[in-house]
């Protein structure tokens, strides 16, 4: 009977039916596992739910007001932006320099690319623990032993409020270089050779070629890396969780990023409502960055 009905439909109608059929399960998934939880998050952020008690009491925007007065929240937000502001430009600069130079090479491109890419692949948890160990005080840590051999005083690294954040940034940048180098290399390949040849005829210097041709043509690549990179840095969590004592983002919250504060609030102190309010703020920040990307890219096109 269905077959009969089905055969009466036009090709277009049949296609539409197939389309809906293919989309049923995915739509249930996206509604149930993406959209509903997103709305749920907004709702939880307006309650005082604490896992422990069964009921969620609606408390309006109290969580947001409390956030506004919470110095730890501002501290973690500040830290998060420090990660982005210090980490991302350095990361892009290093990656570009490396990619630019690798791109000049006639031989060994694969080997170099591999060397720089390896850190990107490894488990961030493993990376964090390796670096945490490198940073240990004498007699355990390599870095301090190395400094001592040159008669330089040992450094506290992860145990200092001023050095801990850069100490966590170092492996973060180290991991990300591989990814960015590959994207830059792909971008550099896309720059037409004849432009350089034309510049050579005009007698342009290497610097002029770099700033007049290469970088302007890499603009989409750079925008892409800035946006993906800043979102990645914004969500920094694993390395801080694994590199600081008891995953607390210490000393004195000096390394604690927003996501770690969210995690600790939600799953260690069980303040689900409060943590949800912070996730909403994270969401808004990411939304703004993404919209910025769309705008910049569209203008370019």
């Amino acid at each position: 009977m269905f077959k009969k009905l089905f055969s009466k439909l036009t090709i277009k109608q049949k296609q539409a039916l197939w389309g809906y059929l293919f989309l049923i399960v995915p739509m249930i998934f996206y509604l149930g596992v993406r959209f509903y939880p997103t709305l749920n998050s907004f709702y939880i952020s307006l309650t005082d739910w604490d896992i422990v008690s069964k009921n969620k009491n609606f408390i309006g925007i109290s969580n947001y007001i409390e956030l506004f007065h919470d110095e730890v929240f501002w501290k973690t937000l500040g830290n998060t932006f420090e990660y982005i502001i210090y980490g991302l430009p350095l990361n892009l600069f290093l990656s570009f320099v490396i990619a630019y130079n690798i791109n000049k090479l006639r031989y060994g491109l694969t080997i170099y690319r591999t060397l720089y890419f390896i850190p990107y692949l490894t488990s961030l948890v493993a990376v964090s623990w390796v670096w945490r160990w490198l940073y240990q005080p004498i007699p355990l840590g390599i870095f301090n032993n190395f400094l001592a051999q040159f008669g330089i005083a040992q450094q506290p690294f992860l145990e200092s409020t001023s050095q801990a954040l850069p100490s966590i940034l170092a492996p973060t940048i180290w991991v990300q270089i591989g990814f960015q180098v590959i994207i830059f290399l792909a971008g550099l390949k896309g720059v037409p050779k004849y432009l350089y040849e034309a510049a050579d005829i005009d007698g342009a210097s290497n610097m002029q070629k770099l700033f007049r041709i290469t970088i302007p043509l890499l603009r989409p690549t750079i925008v892409f890396l800035v946006v993906t990179g800043s979102i990645r840095y914004l969500r920094i969590f694993t390395q801080v969780y694994n590199m600081t004592y008891q995953g607390e983002g210490g000393p004195l919250n000096s390394t604690k990023p927003l996501v770690l504060y969210i995690y600790n609030s939600a799953f260690r102190r069980f303040e689900m409502g409060y943590a949800s309010a912070m996730t909403v703020i994270l969401f808004v920040i990411i939304l703004v960055i993404t919209l910025f990307q769309l705008k910049v890219l569209n203008k370019h096109d």
């Binding site: 296609q15 488990s123 180290w174 694993t238």
Partner: protein, 273 residues
């Protein structure tokens, strides 16, 4: 001479070489320490003075590493199969079919890329508790079974499949599912393999959600197991390095085998995304 150095970028070779060695130094040091006896850990020699496999043997006996390894593998594989299936089917549908609401659905799926996982973990956790998904494989896997990014990527690639081929399939009496599977999919193999590798790696290394949803030691994935193991053995750094090596080496092997696909995949997604 100077001209030779300049023309062949000898300085670039040297500096990049030093940089490259610096890049892999932490790894070399990690692997080297995993072969050291506890009393040699303070010894700064790169080659272990008394190489030993004891740490690996001990790792397998005192911890559940083999089980965590299996869990990560199972989760990574299952999620990858699901992502490939659904993302390409949806991507294909949104690319090649025309029906009412297509654009709305596409925009909806696309917009999920803007929702950070961190925002979803609390509701997911709540949901898992109510549905009994805490502490089982399904609980780890369900959030990643489909991705907005993969759908978007596949949709872009399906544009390269000529409509004529699809029509030819229809004339041959294939149904729409068969056309997708037998005609369209083989033509986007590079994209499929790139998506597969990323999905697998992403899940293999995923940390936040498994950390939250799993509390049973037997169900830890490798990163979660490694984090807890390292916390427990923090003072025995040779054991921590052995654990880190075990978690890292398989990924390196995968990379060396699929190097070309991975690198091209990243470049492709970078340009298309």
């Amino acid at each position: 001479m100077i001209k030779f150095i300049k023309e062949n970028h000898i300085i670039a070779y040297i500096i990049l070489g030093i940089g490259g060695l610096a890049m892999i130094f932490p790894f070399v040091w990690m692997v080297s320490t995993s072969f050291k006896e506890p009393w040699d850990v303070f010894n700064l020699a790169i080659i272990p003075p008394n190489p030993t496999l004891n740490n690996y043997v001990r790792l397998l006996t005192v911890s559940n590493f083999s089980r965590w390894f299996f869990n990560s593998f199972l989760v990574g594989l299952s999620v990858t199969v699901s992502v490939i299936f659904f993302d390409s089917l949806v991507g294909y549908t949104l690319c090649k079919f025309s029906f009412k609401g297509k654009n709305v659905i596409f925009i909806l799926i696309l917009s999920t890329m803007m929702i950070p996982t961190e925002m979803l973990v609390i509701p997911w956790y709540n949901m898992s508790r109510e549905l009994g998904w805490i502490n089982n494989y399904w609980g780890i896997m369900f959030p990643g079974l489909m991705t907005g990014f993969g759908t978007f990527l596949m949709r872009q690639f399906f544009y390269s499949v000529p409509d004529d081929l699809i029509d030819a399939g229809r004339i041959d009496g294939l149904n729409e599912f068969q056309i997708w599977y037998k005609v369209a999919m083989p033509l986007v193999k590079p994209a499929v393999s790139a998506l597969a590798i990323f999905t697998f790696l992403g899940n293999w290394n995923a940390f936040l959600w498994p950390l939250i949803v799993i509390s049973d030691n037997n169900l830890y994935t490798l990163p979660v197991g490694l984090a807890f193991f390292s916390g427990e053995f923090q003072t025995e750094w040779e054991m921590v390095m052995t654990g880190a090596s075990v978690a890292t080496i398989p990924v390196l092997i995968i990379f060396l085998i699929f190097q070309k696909q991975i690198v091209e995949g990243i470049a492709l997604t970078g340009l298309k995304g």
